[in-house]
Protein backbone atom coordinates (compact mmCIF):
# COMPACT_ATOMS: atom_id res chain seq x y z
CA UNK A 1 0.00 0.00 0.00
CA UNK A 2 2.85 2.32 0.59
CA UNK A 3 5.27 0.52 -1.65
CA UNK A 4 6.01 3.61 -3.67
CA UNK A 5 7.33 5.10 -0.45
CA UNK A 6 9.60 2.19 0.29
CA UNK A 7 12.58 3.82 -1.31
CA UNK A 8 12.43 7.43 -0.15
CA UNK A 9 11.58 6.61 3.45
CA UNK A 10 14.64 4.69 4.44
CA UNK A 11 17.84 5.67 6.08
CA UNK A 12 16.80 9.26 5.83
CA UNK A 13 15.96 9.28 9.52
CA UNK A 14 19.57 8.72 10.32
CA UNK A 15 21.32 10.58 7.63
CA UNK A 16 19.00 13.52 7.42
CA UNK A 17 19.41 14.64 10.96
CA UNK A 18 22.69 13.32 12.02
CA UNK A 19 24.97 13.55 9.03
CA UNK A 20 24.55 17.27 8.90
CA UNK A 21 27.36 17.36 11.40
CA UNK A 22 29.31 14.82 9.42
CA UNK A 23 28.92 16.67 6.16
CA UNK A 24 29.98 19.85 7.86
CA UNK A 25 33.00 18.42 9.58
CA UNK A 26 34.46 15.20 8.25
CA UNK A 27 33.29 15.47 4.67
CA UNK A 28 34.33 19.06 4.31
CA UNK A 29 37.77 18.19 5.60
CA UNK A 30 38.09 15.09 3.46
CA UNK A 31 36.70 16.64 0.31
CA UNK A 32 38.43 19.98 0.60
CA UNK A 33 41.08 21.35 -1.75
CA UNK A 34 43.50 18.73 -2.96
CA UNK A 35 46.36 20.26 -1.05
CA UNK A 36 44.57 20.23 2.29
CA UNK A 37 45.21 17.41 4.69
CA UNK A 38 42.47 15.69 6.61
CA UNK A 39 42.79 15.81 10.40
CA UNK A 40 43.91 12.21 10.31
CA UNK A 41 46.58 12.94 7.75
CA UNK A 42 47.80 15.85 9.82
CA UNK A 43 47.85 13.61 12.85
CA UNK A 44 49.91 11.08 10.99
CA UNK A 45 52.40 13.70 9.92
CA UNK A 46 52.61 15.10 13.42
CA UNK A 47 53.34 11.76 14.98
CA UNK A 48 55.69 10.65 12.25
CA UNK A 49 53.66 7.54 11.49
CA UNK A 50 54.84 5.22 8.75
CA UNK A 51 52.87 2.77 6.63
CA UNK A 52 54.25 0.11 8.96
CA UNK A 53 52.73 1.83 11.97
CA UNK A 54 49.34 1.94 10.27
CA UNK A 55 49.52 -1.71 9.25
CA UNK A 56 50.62 -2.71 12.74
CA UNK A 57 47.59 -0.95 14.13
CA UNK A 58 45.41 -2.94 11.73
CA UNK A 59 47.28 -6.08 12.81
CA UNK A 60 46.16 -5.53 16.40
CA UNK A 61 42.54 -5.50 15.29
CA UNK A 62 43.09 -8.61 13.19
CA UNK A 63 44.66 -10.41 16.16
CA UNK A 64 41.54 -9.58 18.12
CA UNK A 65 39.19 -10.82 15.42
CA UNK A 66 41.24 -13.90 14.55
CA UNK A 67 41.50 -14.98 18.21
CA UNK A 68 37.77 -14.56 18.60
CA UNK A 69 36.69 -16.49 15.52
CA UNK A 70 39.42 -19.12 15.47
CA UNK A 71 38.77 -19.99 19.11
CA UNK A 72 35.00 -19.88 18.65
CA UNK A 73 35.22 -22.38 15.77
CA UNK A 74 38.08 -24.62 16.93
CA UNK A 75 38.39 -24.23 20.69
CA UNK A 76 41.99 -23.05 20.28
CA UNK A 77 43.52 -19.68 19.51
CA UNK A 78 46.35 -18.68 17.21
CA UNK A 79 49.46 -20.82 17.21
CA UNK A 80 52.71 -19.37 18.57
CA UNK A 81 54.07 -18.67 15.11
CA UNK A 82 51.03 -16.61 14.15
CA UNK A 83 51.07 -14.57 17.35
CA UNK A 84 54.70 -13.41 17.16
CA UNK A 85 57.58 -13.50 19.63
CA UNK A 86 56.66 -12.54 23.22
CA UNK A 87 53.01 -12.40 22.32
CA UNK A 88 50.52 -11.37 24.98
CA UNK A 89 48.20 -13.92 26.52
CA UNK A 90 44.63 -14.37 25.34
CA UNK A 91 41.87 -15.25 27.77
CA UNK A 92 38.12 -15.56 27.91
CA UNK A 93 37.36 -17.24 24.57
CA UNK A 94 36.20 -20.79 23.95
CA UNK A 95 34.41 -22.98 21.43
CA UNK A 96 31.06 -21.40 20.60
CA UNK A 97 27.83 -23.38 20.67
CA UNK A 98 26.52 -22.68 17.19
CA UNK A 99 23.57 -24.54 15.75
CA UNK A 100 22.32 -22.97 12.50
CA UNK A 101 24.23 -24.19 9.41
CA UNK A 102 24.50 -20.70 7.94
CA UNK A 103 25.85 -19.27 11.19
CA UNK A 104 28.38 -22.10 11.39
CA UNK A 105 29.43 -21.46 7.81
CA UNK A 106 29.72 -17.75 8.54
CA UNK A 107 31.89 -18.47 11.60
CA UNK A 108 34.17 -20.84 9.70
CA UNK A 109 34.53 -18.43 6.78
CA UNK A 110 35.32 -15.46 8.93
CA UNK A 111 37.76 -17.43 11.10
CA UNK A 112 39.70 -18.35 7.98
CA UNK A 113 39.60 -14.80 6.62
CA UNK A 114 40.75 -13.17 9.85
CA UNK A 115 43.50 -15.72 10.29
CA UNK A 116 44.61 -14.97 6.72
CA UNK A 117 44.62 -11.26 7.48
CA UNK A 118 46.94 -11.80 10.45
CA UNK A 119 49.18 -13.93 8.30
CA UNK A 120 49.16 -11.44 5.45
CA UNK A 121 49.90 -8.40 7.59
CA UNK A 122 52.62 -10.21 9.52
CA UNK A 123 54.20 -11.27 6.22
CA UNK A 124 53.96 -7.78 4.76
CA UNK A 125 55.48 -6.24 7.88
CA UNK A 126 58.20 -8.86 8.23
CA UNK A 127 60.45 -8.24 11.21
CA UNK A 128 58.53 -5.02 11.95
CA UNK A 129 55.35 -6.93 12.77
CA UNK A 130 54.22 -6.34 16.34
CA UNK A 131 53.30 -9.36 18.46
CA UNK A 132 49.78 -10.06 19.62
CA UNK A 133 48.78 -7.80 22.49
CA UNK A 134 47.23 -9.13 25.69
CA UNK A 135 43.58 -9.83 24.86
CA UNK A 136 40.85 -10.32 27.45
CA UNK A 137 37.54 -11.31 25.89
CA UNK A 138 35.75 -11.75 29.21
CA UNK A 139 36.55 -8.22 30.32
CA UNK A 140 35.86 -6.79 26.87
CA UNK A 141 32.48 -8.43 26.35
CA UNK A 142 31.48 -7.82 29.95
CA UNK A 143 32.17 -4.11 29.56
CA UNK A 144 30.36 -3.95 26.23
CA UNK A 145 27.42 -5.95 27.57
CA UNK A 146 27.01 -3.73 30.56
CA UNK A 147 27.48 -0.43 28.72
CA UNK A 148 25.17 -1.46 25.88
CA UNK A 149 22.47 -2.72 28.19
CA UNK A 150 22.85 -6.40 27.32
CA UNK A 151 23.99 -7.34 30.81
CA UNK A 152 27.50 -7.57 32.26
CA UNK A 153 27.38 -11.37 31.89
CA UNK A 154 27.02 -11.14 28.11
CA UNK A 155 28.62 -14.31 26.73
CA UNK A 156 29.14 -14.55 22.95
CA UNK A 157 29.98 -18.25 23.05
CA UNK A 158 26.63 -19.67 24.18
CA UNK A 159 24.32 -19.15 21.19
CA UNK A 160 23.98 -18.17 17.55
CA UNK A 161 22.46 -14.88 18.61
CA UNK A 162 25.19 -13.86 21.03
CA UNK A 163 27.91 -14.98 18.67
CA UNK A 164 26.47 -12.85 15.87
CA UNK A 165 26.10 -9.87 18.17
CA UNK A 166 29.77 -10.13 19.08
CA UNK A 167 30.65 -10.51 15.43
CA UNK A 168 28.54 -7.46 14.65
CA UNK A 169 30.46 -5.53 17.31
CA UNK A 170 33.80 -6.19 15.59
CA UNK A 171 33.02 -6.20 11.88
CA UNK A 172 31.61 -2.73 11.33
CA UNK A 173 34.52 -1.35 13.34
CA UNK A 174 36.93 -3.14 11.04
CA UNK A 175 35.26 -1.59 8.02
CA UNK A 176 35.44 1.95 9.36
CA UNK A 177 39.00 1.43 10.60
CA UNK A 178 40.34 0.35 7.22
CA UNK A 179 38.45 3.11 5.44
CA UNK A 180 39.89 5.67 7.83
CA UNK A 181 43.35 4.20 7.34
CA UNK A 182 43.23 4.07 3.53
CA UNK A 183 44.21 7.70 2.91
CA UNK A 184 47.07 7.36 5.41
CA UNK A 185 48.83 4.61 3.52
CA UNK A 186 51.44 5.82 1.02
CA UNK A 187 52.60 2.60 -0.58
CA UNK A 188 50.22 1.64 -3.41
CA UNK A 189 50.62 -2.10 -2.90
CA UNK A 190 49.79 -1.84 0.79
CA UNK A 191 46.90 0.41 -0.09
CA UNK A 192 45.52 -2.11 -2.56
CA UNK A 193 45.76 -4.89 0.01
CA UNK A 194 44.16 -2.75 2.69
CA UNK A 195 41.26 -1.99 0.35
CA UNK A 196 40.83 -5.70 -0.32
CA UNK A 197 40.79 -6.48 3.41
CA UNK A 198 38.45 -3.54 4.00
CA UNK A 199 35.97 -5.05 1.52
CA UNK A 200 36.18 -8.48 3.12
CA UNK A 201 35.36 -6.96 6.51
CA UNK A 202 32.35 -5.33 4.86
CA UNK A 203 31.23 -8.68 3.42
CA UNK A 204 31.41 -10.10 6.94
CA UNK A 205 29.49 -7.18 8.35
CA UNK A 206 26.82 -7.46 5.66
CA UNK A 207 26.39 -11.15 6.48
CA UNK A 208 26.24 -10.59 10.25
CA UNK A 209 23.77 -7.73 9.94
CA UNK A 210 21.54 -9.64 7.50
CA UNK A 211 21.56 -12.73 9.71
CA UNK A 212 20.74 -10.71 12.81
CA UNK A 213 17.96 -8.86 11.03
CA UNK A 214 16.40 -12.14 9.95
CA UNK A 215 16.54 -13.46 13.52
CA UNK A 216 13.86 -11.02 14.62
CA UNK A 217 13.10 -8.36 17.21
CA UNK A 218 15.42 -9.50 20.01
CA UNK A 219 18.40 -9.70 17.67
CA UNK A 220 17.59 -6.34 16.10
CA UNK A 221 17.27 -4.67 19.47
CA UNK A 222 20.56 -6.16 20.66
CA UNK A 223 22.43 -5.05 17.57
CA UNK A 224 20.97 -1.57 17.77
CA UNK A 225 22.14 -1.28 21.38
CA UNK A 226 25.67 -2.23 20.40
CA UNK A 227 25.58 0.21 17.51
CA UNK A 228 24.45 2.99 19.84
CA UNK A 229 27.26 2.15 22.25
CA UNK A 230 29.90 2.27 19.52
CA UNK A 231 28.57 5.57 18.35
CA UNK A 232 28.70 6.94 21.88
CA UNK A 233 32.21 5.70 22.61
CA UNK A 234 33.81 7.17 19.48
CA UNK A 235 32.81 10.78 20.06
CA UNK A 236 30.05 13.16 19.01
CA UNK A 237 30.07 12.51 15.25
CA UNK A 238 27.58 9.94 13.96
CA UNK A 239 29.61 7.06 12.59
CA UNK A 240 27.27 4.19 13.24
CA UNK A 241 23.81 2.90 12.40
CA UNK A 242 21.74 0.04 13.77
CA UNK A 243 20.32 -2.76 11.65
CA UNK A 244 16.75 -1.56 11.99
CA UNK A 245 15.93 2.09 11.52
CA UNK A 246 12.43 3.52 11.63
CA UNK A 247 10.96 0.05 11.31
CA UNK A 248 13.00 -0.81 8.21
CA UNK A 249 16.01 -2.97 7.49
CA UNK A 250 19.29 -1.07 7.55
CA UNK A 251 21.87 -3.66 6.59
CA UNK A 252 24.38 -1.10 5.33
CA UNK A 253 25.58 1.67 7.64
CA UNK A 254 26.29 4.60 5.34
CA UNK A 255 25.86 8.33 4.89
CA UNK A 256 23.51 10.22 2.60
CA UNK A 257 25.71 9.56 -0.43
CA UNK A 258 25.58 5.82 0.11
CA UNK A 259 29.17 5.89 1.39
CA UNK A 260 30.40 3.98 4.44
CA UNK A 261 31.79 5.82 7.45
CA UNK A 262 35.43 6.28 8.45
CA UNK A 263 36.92 6.11 11.91
CA UNK A 264 40.29 7.44 12.97
CA UNK A 265 42.58 5.01 14.80
CA UNK A 266 41.76 6.92 17.97
CA UNK A 267 38.03 6.42 17.50
CA UNK A 268 38.60 2.74 16.86
CA UNK A 269 40.63 2.51 20.07
CA UNK A 270 37.81 4.21 21.99
CA UNK A 271 35.60 1.30 21.02
CA UNK A 272 37.95 -1.61 21.62
CA UNK A 273 39.13 -0.05 24.89
CA UNK A 274 35.50 0.48 25.83
CA UNK A 275 36.33 4.03 26.92
CA UNK A 276 35.42 7.39 25.40
CA UNK A 277 37.64 10.45 25.33
CA UNK A 278 41.27 11.17 24.54
CA UNK A 279 44.42 10.04 26.32
CA UNK A 280 43.25 6.47 26.99
CA UNK A 281 45.89 3.83 26.28
CA UNK A 282 44.31 0.55 27.43
CA UNK A 283 41.10 -1.12 28.51
CA UNK A 284 38.29 -3.37 27.36
CA UNK A 285 39.57 -6.09 25.06
CA UNK A 286 43.16 -4.79 25.35
CA UNK A 287 43.91 -4.51 29.12
CA UNK A 288 47.52 -3.54 28.42
CA UNK A 289 46.82 -1.56 25.28
CA UNK A 290 47.67 -2.35 21.69
CA UNK A 291 51.18 -3.18 20.56
CA UNK A 292 52.88 -0.71 18.24
CA UNK A 293 52.98 3.03 17.96
CA UNK A 294 49.25 3.72 17.78
CA UNK A 295 48.12 3.02 21.29
CA UNK A 296 46.45 6.12 22.69
CA UNK A 297 43.05 7.62 21.95
Amino acid sequence: MSTELAIPSRRTMFTGLRTAALAGATAAAAFGPASAQTPVQESRARHGLTDGDILNFALNLEYLEAEFYVTATSGQGLDATSAGASAGATSGARLAQLSSPIVRMFAQNVAKNEFDHVYFLRSALGSNAVPRPVIDFKAGFSAVGEAAGLGSNFDPFVSDLNFLLASFLFEDVGVTAYKGAAPLIHNKEYLQSAAGIHAVEAYHAGCARALLYRMGPEARAGANKISALRDKLDGPTTLDQGIEVDGHANIVPSDSGGVCFSRTPQQVLNIVYGTPGSGVSKGGFFPEGTTGKIQMT
Binding site: I7, P8, T12, A30, H117, A199, R209, A249
Partner: protein, 299 residues
Protein backbone atom coordinates in the same frame (compact mmCIF):
# COMPACT_ATOMS: atom_id res chain seq x y z
CA UNK B 1 4.20 8.86 6.74
CA UNK B 2 4.23 10.36 3.30
CA UNK B 3 5.05 13.79 4.61
CA UNK B 4 7.75 12.68 6.96
CA UNK B 5 9.29 10.49 4.29
CA UNK B 6 9.38 13.33 1.80
CA UNK B 7 10.61 15.81 4.35
CA UNK B 8 13.43 13.52 5.27
CA UNK B 9 14.22 12.87 1.65
CA UNK B 10 14.64 16.52 0.92
CA UNK B 11 16.83 16.93 3.97
CA UNK B 12 18.95 14.14 2.70
CA UNK B 13 19.25 15.85 -0.67
CA UNK B 14 20.66 18.88 1.05
CA UNK B 15 23.31 16.94 2.88
CA UNK B 16 24.30 15.08 -0.21
CA UNK B 17 24.49 18.24 -2.20
CA UNK B 18 26.90 19.67 0.33
CA UNK B 19 29.30 16.78 0.53
CA UNK B 20 29.34 15.92 -3.15
CA UNK B 21 29.75 19.53 -4.20
CA UNK B 22 32.83 19.90 -2.05
CA UNK B 23 34.10 16.65 -3.43
CA UNK B 24 33.63 18.04 -6.93
CA UNK B 25 35.64 21.08 -5.98
CA UNK B 26 38.42 18.78 -4.89
CA UNK B 27 38.40 16.95 -8.18
CA UNK B 28 38.39 20.20 -10.05
CA UNK B 29 41.61 21.12 -8.35
CA UNK B 30 42.98 17.80 -9.45
CA UNK B 31 41.90 18.32 -13.02
CA UNK B 32 43.92 21.52 -13.29
CA UNK B 33 46.96 19.74 -12.00
CA UNK B 34 49.38 19.61 -14.95
CA UNK B 35 50.79 16.21 -14.01
CA UNK B 36 49.00 13.63 -16.18
CA UNK B 37 48.20 10.22 -14.81
CA UNK B 38 49.97 7.41 -16.52
CA UNK B 39 48.08 4.23 -17.17
CA UNK B 40 49.91 1.28 -15.71
CA UNK B 41 50.91 -1.25 -18.34
CA UNK B 42 48.97 -4.43 -18.66
CA UNK B 43 45.55 -2.92 -18.27
CA UNK B 44 44.69 -3.47 -21.90
CA UNK B 45 43.73 0.12 -22.61
CA UNK B 46 45.11 0.07 -26.14
CA UNK B 47 41.90 1.37 -27.64
CA UNK B 48 41.52 4.21 -25.15
CA UNK B 49 44.95 5.76 -24.79
CA UNK B 50 43.74 8.89 -22.95
CA UNK B 51 45.05 9.20 -19.42
CA UNK B 52 42.46 7.90 -17.00
CA UNK B 53 41.89 10.85 -14.71
CA UNK B 54 40.18 10.49 -11.38
CA UNK B 55 36.91 11.92 -12.74
CA UNK B 56 37.10 9.43 -15.63
CA UNK B 57 37.40 6.59 -13.15
CA UNK B 58 34.32 7.89 -11.36
CA UNK B 59 32.50 8.20 -14.67
CA UNK B 60 33.25 4.57 -15.44
CA UNK B 61 31.82 3.61 -12.08
CA UNK B 62 28.76 5.77 -12.75
CA UNK B 63 27.77 3.51 -15.65
CA UNK B 64 27.75 0.51 -13.32
CA UNK B 65 25.74 2.39 -10.73
CA UNK B 66 23.12 3.30 -13.35
CA UNK B 67 22.79 -0.39 -14.13
CA UNK B 68 22.46 -1.43 -10.50
CA UNK B 69 20.08 1.39 -9.62
CA UNK B 70 17.79 0.60 -12.55
CA UNK B 71 17.76 -3.09 -11.66
CA UNK B 72 16.88 -2.66 -8.00
CA UNK B 73 14.54 0.30 -8.38
CA UNK B 74 12.52 -1.43 -11.09
CA UNK B 75 12.40 -4.68 -9.16
CA UNK B 76 11.29 -2.99 -5.94
CA UNK B 77 9.03 -0.19 -7.19
CA UNK B 78 8.35 -0.89 -10.85
CA UNK B 79 9.90 2.49 -11.74
CA UNK B 80 13.47 3.38 -12.58
CA UNK B 81 15.59 6.41 -11.77
CA UNK B 82 13.96 9.82 -11.95
CA UNK B 83 14.64 12.09 -14.93
CA UNK B 84 16.79 14.44 -12.86
CA UNK B 85 19.25 11.63 -12.16
CA UNK B 86 19.88 10.64 -15.77
CA UNK B 87 21.98 13.39 -17.33
CA UNK B 88 21.22 15.47 -20.45
CA UNK B 89 20.97 12.67 -23.02
CA UNK B 90 19.84 9.47 -21.36
CA UNK B 91 19.16 6.32 -23.32
CA UNK B 92 16.36 3.93 -22.55
CA UNK B 93 16.02 0.90 -20.33
CA UNK B 94 14.58 -2.34 -21.68
CA UNK B 95 12.86 -4.76 -19.32
CA UNK B 96 12.54 -4.80 -15.57
CA UNK B 97 9.34 -4.82 -13.57
CA UNK B 98 8.10 -4.95 -10.03
CA UNK B 99 8.77 -8.24 -8.32
CA UNK B 100 6.18 -10.00 -6.16
CA UNK B 101 8.24 -10.55 -3.05
CA UNK B 102 6.97 -13.24 -0.71
CA UNK B 103 9.07 -12.24 2.26
CA UNK B 104 8.56 -8.63 3.41
CA UNK B 105 11.98 -8.62 5.10
CA UNK B 106 13.68 -9.45 1.82
CA UNK B 107 11.60 -6.84 0.02
CA UNK B 108 12.72 -4.33 2.63
CA UNK B 109 16.38 -5.23 2.20
CA UNK B 110 16.11 -4.92 -1.58
CA UNK B 111 14.54 -1.50 -1.14
CA UNK B 112 17.53 -0.51 0.96
CA UNK B 113 19.93 -1.64 -1.75
CA UNK B 114 17.90 0.26 -4.35
CA UNK B 115 18.19 3.38 -2.23
CA UNK B 116 21.96 2.90 -1.87
CA UNK B 117 22.52 2.45 -5.59
CA UNK B 118 20.46 5.51 -6.38
CA UNK B 119 22.53 7.42 -3.83
CA UNK B 120 25.68 6.28 -5.62
CA UNK B 121 24.38 7.56 -8.94
CA UNK B 122 23.63 10.94 -7.40
CA UNK B 123 26.86 11.05 -5.43
CA UNK B 124 29.03 10.28 -8.46
CA UNK B 125 27.09 12.64 -10.75
CA UNK B 126 27.52 15.45 -8.24
CA UNK B 127 31.18 14.70 -7.74
CA UNK B 128 31.94 14.60 -11.44
CA UNK B 129 29.87 17.70 -12.21
CA UNK B 130 32.33 19.75 -10.16
CA UNK B 131 35.09 18.99 -12.68
CA UNK B 132 35.70 19.87 -16.34
CA UNK B 133 34.46 16.39 -17.20
CA UNK B 134 30.75 15.95 -17.85
CA UNK B 135 29.00 13.29 -15.83
CA UNK B 136 27.89 10.60 -18.27
CA UNK B 137 24.22 10.30 -19.05
CA UNK B 138 22.59 6.95 -18.48
CA UNK B 139 23.61 4.61 -21.28
CA UNK B 140 21.13 2.25 -22.95
CA UNK B 141 20.49 -0.58 -20.50
CA UNK B 142 19.00 -3.97 -21.22
CA UNK B 143 17.54 -6.01 -18.37
CA UNK B 144 15.82 -8.63 -20.49
CA UNK B 145 17.86 -10.15 -23.31
CA UNK B 146 20.95 -9.64 -21.16
CA UNK B 147 19.66 -11.81 -18.32
CA UNK B 148 18.44 -14.45 -20.74
CA UNK B 149 21.92 -14.57 -22.27
CA UNK B 150 23.61 -14.52 -18.87
CA UNK B 151 21.33 -17.29 -17.64
CA UNK B 152 22.00 -19.39 -20.70
CA UNK B 153 25.75 -18.85 -20.40
CA UNK B 154 25.64 -19.85 -16.75
CA UNK B 155 23.56 -22.94 -17.43
CA UNK B 156 20.33 -21.70 -15.84
CA UNK B 157 18.24 -22.30 -18.96
CA UNK B 158 17.29 -20.05 -21.86
CA UNK B 159 14.63 -17.98 -20.12
CA UNK B 160 16.16 -16.63 -16.96
CA UNK B 161 13.99 -13.77 -15.75
CA UNK B 162 15.19 -12.11 -12.51
CA UNK B 163 11.89 -10.29 -12.09
CA UNK B 164 9.83 -13.49 -12.12
CA UNK B 165 9.98 -14.09 -8.36
CA UNK B 166 11.95 -13.41 -5.19
CA UNK B 167 14.54 -16.15 -5.64
CA UNK B 168 15.21 -15.07 -9.22
CA UNK B 169 15.59 -11.46 -8.15
CA UNK B 170 18.23 -12.43 -5.59
CA UNK B 171 20.08 -14.37 -8.29
CA UNK B 172 19.88 -11.37 -10.61
CA UNK B 173 21.23 -9.17 -7.83
CA UNK B 174 24.03 -11.65 -7.36
CA UNK B 175 25.07 -11.12 -10.98
CA UNK B 176 25.98 -7.52 -10.10
CA UNK B 177 27.08 -7.11 -6.49
CA UNK B 178 30.42 -8.87 -6.44
CA UNK B 179 31.25 -7.21 -9.77
CA UNK B 180 30.79 -3.81 -8.14
CA UNK B 181 33.16 -4.80 -5.36
CA UNK B 182 35.85 -5.97 -7.75
CA UNK B 183 35.39 -2.88 -9.94
CA UNK B 184 35.90 -0.40 -7.08
CA UNK B 185 38.73 -2.50 -5.68
CA UNK B 186 40.36 -2.44 -9.10
CA UNK B 187 40.00 1.36 -9.20
CA UNK B 188 41.90 1.90 -5.96
CA UNK B 189 45.28 2.14 -7.64
CA UNK B 190 43.92 4.29 -10.47
CA UNK B 191 42.82 7.10 -8.16
CA UNK B 192 45.44 9.69 -7.34
CA UNK B 193 43.61 11.90 -4.87
CA UNK B 194 43.32 10.75 -1.28
CA UNK B 195 39.89 12.23 -0.71
CA UNK B 196 38.50 10.49 -3.78
CA UNK B 197 40.20 7.32 -2.75
CA UNK B 198 38.47 7.45 0.61
CA UNK B 199 35.09 8.07 -1.03
CA UNK B 200 35.66 5.18 -3.43
CA UNK B 201 36.64 2.95 -0.51
CA UNK B 202 33.40 3.90 1.17
CA UNK B 203 31.37 2.89 -1.87
CA UNK B 204 33.48 -0.25 -2.23
CA UNK B 205 32.50 -1.20 1.30
CA UNK B 206 28.80 -0.55 0.65
CA UNK B 207 28.91 -2.84 -2.37
CA UNK B 208 30.60 -5.47 -0.22
CA UNK B 209 27.91 -5.13 2.47
CA UNK B 210 25.41 -5.75 -0.31
CA UNK B 211 27.45 -8.70 -1.55
CA UNK B 212 27.52 -10.26 1.92
CA UNK B 213 23.81 -9.65 2.36
CA UNK B 214 22.95 -11.24 -1.01
CA UNK B 215 25.13 -14.29 -0.40
CA UNK B 216 23.56 -14.73 3.01
CA UNK B 217 20.02 -14.45 1.63
CA UNK B 218 20.83 -16.92 -1.15
CA UNK B 219 21.86 -19.43 1.51
CA UNK B 220 18.57 -18.98 3.34
CA UNK B 221 16.88 -20.10 0.12
CA UNK B 222 18.48 -23.52 0.18
CA UNK B 223 21.06 -25.54 -1.78
CA UNK B 224 19.29 -25.39 -5.14
CA UNK B 225 19.42 -21.61 -5.23
CA UNK B 226 23.01 -21.60 -3.99
CA UNK B 227 23.91 -24.03 -6.77
CA UNK B 228 22.51 -21.58 -9.31
CA UNK B 229 24.50 -18.77 -7.76
CA UNK B 230 27.61 -20.93 -8.04
CA UNK B 231 26.97 -21.21 -11.76
CA UNK B 232 26.65 -17.45 -12.09
CA UNK B 233 29.93 -16.92 -10.24
CA UNK B 234 31.64 -19.48 -12.45
CA UNK B 235 30.30 -17.75 -15.57
CA UNK B 236 31.64 -14.37 -14.41
CA UNK B 237 34.99 -15.92 -13.72
CA UNK B 238 35.19 -17.40 -17.21
CA UNK B 239 34.16 -14.15 -18.91
CA UNK B 240 36.93 -11.98 -17.50
CA UNK B 241 39.99 -13.99 -18.45
CA UNK B 242 42.16 -16.65 -16.90
CA UNK B 243 42.83 -14.99 -13.53
CA UNK B 244 40.61 -16.20 -10.70
CA UNK B 245 38.22 -13.46 -9.61
CA UNK B 246 35.58 -15.51 -7.86
CA UNK B 247 34.98 -17.78 -4.88
CA UNK B 248 31.76 -19.77 -5.13
CA UNK B 249 28.86 -18.82 -2.84
CA UNK B 250 28.54 -22.44 -1.70
CA UNK B 251 32.03 -22.16 -0.27
CA UNK B 252 32.36 -18.57 0.83
CA UNK B 253 30.30 -15.65 2.08
CA UNK B 254 33.20 -13.26 1.46
CA UNK B 255 34.84 -14.03 -1.89
CA UNK B 256 38.54 -13.34 -1.60
CA UNK B 257 42.05 -14.42 -2.61
CA UNK B 258 44.60 -16.58 -0.81
CA UNK B 259 45.22 -13.80 1.72
CA UNK B 260 41.49 -13.18 2.16
CA UNK B 261 41.60 -9.90 0.26
CA UNK B 262 38.64 -9.12 -2.00
CA UNK B 263 39.29 -9.78 -5.67
CA UNK B 264 39.76 -6.92 -8.10
CA UNK B 265 38.95 -6.42 -11.75
CA UNK B 266 40.35 -3.95 -14.25
CA UNK B 267 37.79 -1.78 -16.05
CA UNK B 268 38.26 -4.08 -19.05
CA UNK B 269 37.52 -7.18 -17.03
CA UNK B 270 34.44 -5.51 -15.60
CA UNK B 271 33.29 -4.73 -19.13
CA UNK B 272 33.84 -8.35 -20.16
CA UNK B 273 31.31 -9.31 -17.49
CA UNK B 274 28.67 -6.65 -18.15
CA UNK B 275 29.01 -6.96 -21.93
CA UNK B 276 28.80 -10.74 -21.44
CA UNK B 277 31.75 -11.21 -23.77
CA UNK B 278 35.17 -12.72 -23.06
CA UNK B 279 36.75 -11.04 -26.08
CA UNK B 280 39.08 -8.05 -26.25
CA UNK B 281 38.18 -4.85 -28.10
CA UNK B 282 34.43 -5.26 -27.54
CA UNK B 283 32.58 -2.03 -26.79
CA UNK B 284 28.99 -3.15 -26.26
CA UNK B 285 26.70 -6.04 -25.50
CA UNK B 286 24.90 -7.73 -22.65
CA UNK B 287 23.56 -5.20 -20.18
CA UNK B 288 24.87 -2.27 -22.28
CA UNK B 289 23.70 -2.96 -25.86
CA UNK B 290 24.98 0.41 -27.15
CA UNK B 291 28.16 0.63 -25.02
CA UNK B 292 28.74 2.59 -21.83
CA UNK B 293 29.48 6.32 -21.75
CA UNK B 294 32.90 7.80 -21.05
CA UNK B 295 36.50 7.32 -22.18
CA UNK B 296 36.74 3.69 -21.08
CA UNK B 297 34.37 1.70 -23.25
CA UNK B 298 36.29 -1.22 -24.69
CA UNK B 299 37.23 -4.50 -23.15
Amino acid sequence: MLLSGKAMLSRRHTVRAMSAAVLGAGMSACATNPVPRIIPQGLGLALTPEPLTDPAVFNFALNLEYLEAEYYLRGVTGEGLERADLGPAPKGVTGGRKVRFQNPEIADMMAEVASDERSHVRFLRRAISGTPLVASSRPAIDLEASFKAAGAAAGLGDNFDPFADEDSFLLGAFVFEDVGVTAYNGAVKLLSQKNLLEAAAGILAVEAYHGGMIRTLLHTKGPDVVAKADKIAAARDSLDGPVTTEELPSLSLAPSDQFSRAFKRTPQQVLNVVYLSPDKGVHRGGFFPESINGVVRHT
